[in-house]
């Protein structure tokens, strides 16, 4: 009957996961704060993201304690989305390629930041 009576677990598990989520969020913020770039940035951001999402779904949403029929209903369909993401990555790269090739855009263009546009207003001297 326990599963009919609902999800009841010791509070300790929740406090631990709660603390862990704070640490993981702080870690992903640190990636930006210390300006980690390139492949390392992608690896770290995605790793912390997957861990955070995993703990929320597994513990806070109680999925680890659910029966398999419900677990597969929840986690099964979204797997199809990976296909969509894969296809759109190929498509997006292809469209970008044709645009560079036929429209003559600059591949090395650099975006502007707020400081470039109104550095004075922010009270910051623009010194690059």
């Amino acid at each position: 009957m326990s599963s009919e009576a609902g999800q009841q677990h010791p509070l300790g598990v929740y406090y631990k996961v709660w603390a862990l989520l704070f640490v993981l969020s702080a870690c992903s913020y640190m990636v930006d704060f210390f300006e980690v770039q390139g492949a390392m940035r992608w690896t770290l951001v995605l790793l912390f993201m997957v861990l955070k999402a995993g703990f929320i779904v597994a513990i806070f949403m109680h999925v680890v304690w659910e029966r398999m029929a419900l677990v597969l209903t929840i986690l099964g369909p979204p797997v199809a989305l990976l296909l969509l993401i894969g296809l759109m990555t190929i498509e997006g790269n292809y469209v970008a390629g044709t645009r560079y090739q036929y429209m003559g855009h600059d591949r090395d263009a650099v975006a502007l930041g707020p400081d470039d546009l109104h550095g004075e207003e922010h009270g910051e001297a623009v010194e690059h």
Partner: protein
């Protein structure tokens, strides 16, 4: 009949899966409302993923450089601007609210009405402060930086449309969640669920955690990468 299935088979293995689907009977051994909330959340996952995938698609295909989020969302408290600080605070607020919600669910099952009520109210207040900060962020972006859904001074025009669409839709979810949580909280306090049981609190909690979950992905893909 369904009770027998719950008690005999190993409740998480492949046998339980076959058991649950192999006869003309109830497949999900959870309250009806909980199963339906999960169906809703799965469909909502598809909506958010479609938004994020369209973001992926336009960001990959644009030939204009993507605006530097870290600088755009920086905020200064008197000194040098701190990159992404407001977004980081919003992230911590949402995680804190997830924690108070999970405690509310737990105290709900212990039939501790007062604690459940207050924890849900606190969760809703965190939600409101999140929406408030988002309103501040939008105002800053529109008024000070001149970002519009059709263009912005920094780079690729798609930045604005993606930003307003994704964070707007998420903010709408948070706002709806605040109303939902407060409704359930006051019904809990009024003793509405004394006889029916406190699954409603868990169901409301599922929705709230989902909102937090979506933010995890938005934080990573939109603000950090």
């Amino acid at each position: 009949m369904s009770e027998a299935a719950v008690n005999t088979a190993d409740s998480r293995g492949i046998e339980s899966l076959v058991d649950d689907w192999s006869a003309d009977k109830q497949a999900y051994h959870v309250p009806w409302g909980k199963a339906m909330m999960w169906i809703f959340l799965v469909s909502d996952t598809f909506i958010f993923t479609c938004f994020l995938t369209s973001y992926l698609s336009v960001r990959l295909s644009t030939t204009q450089p993507w605006p530097p989020q870290s600088e755009i969302f920086a905020l200064s408290f008197g000194g040098d601007p701190i990159p992404l600080i407001l977004i980081a605070i919003m992230t911590f607020i949402l995680i804190t609210s997830s924690g108070t919600m999970v405690l509310a669910v737990n105290y709900g099952y212990r039939k501790d009405k007062i604690r459940t009520f207050w924890l849900m109210v606190v969760t809703a207040l965190f939600g409101m402060s999140f929406v408030g900060m988002q309103a501040f962020e939008w105002t800053k972006l529109i008024v000070e930086e001149g970002v519009r859904p059709w263009g912005n001074p920094f780079g690729a025009a798609q930045f604005g449309s993606v930003f307003f669409m994704i964070t707007g839709f998420h903010g709408l979810h948070v706002s709806a969640g605040v109303i939902y949580l407060l409704t359930i909280a006051f019904k809990v306090r009024a003793g509405h669920y004394d006889k029916k049981g406190y699954e409603v609190v868990e169901i409301a909690g599922l929705y709230w955690h989902f909102v937090d979950l979506v933010w995890v992905f938005i934080f990573a893909f939109f603000y950090l990468l």
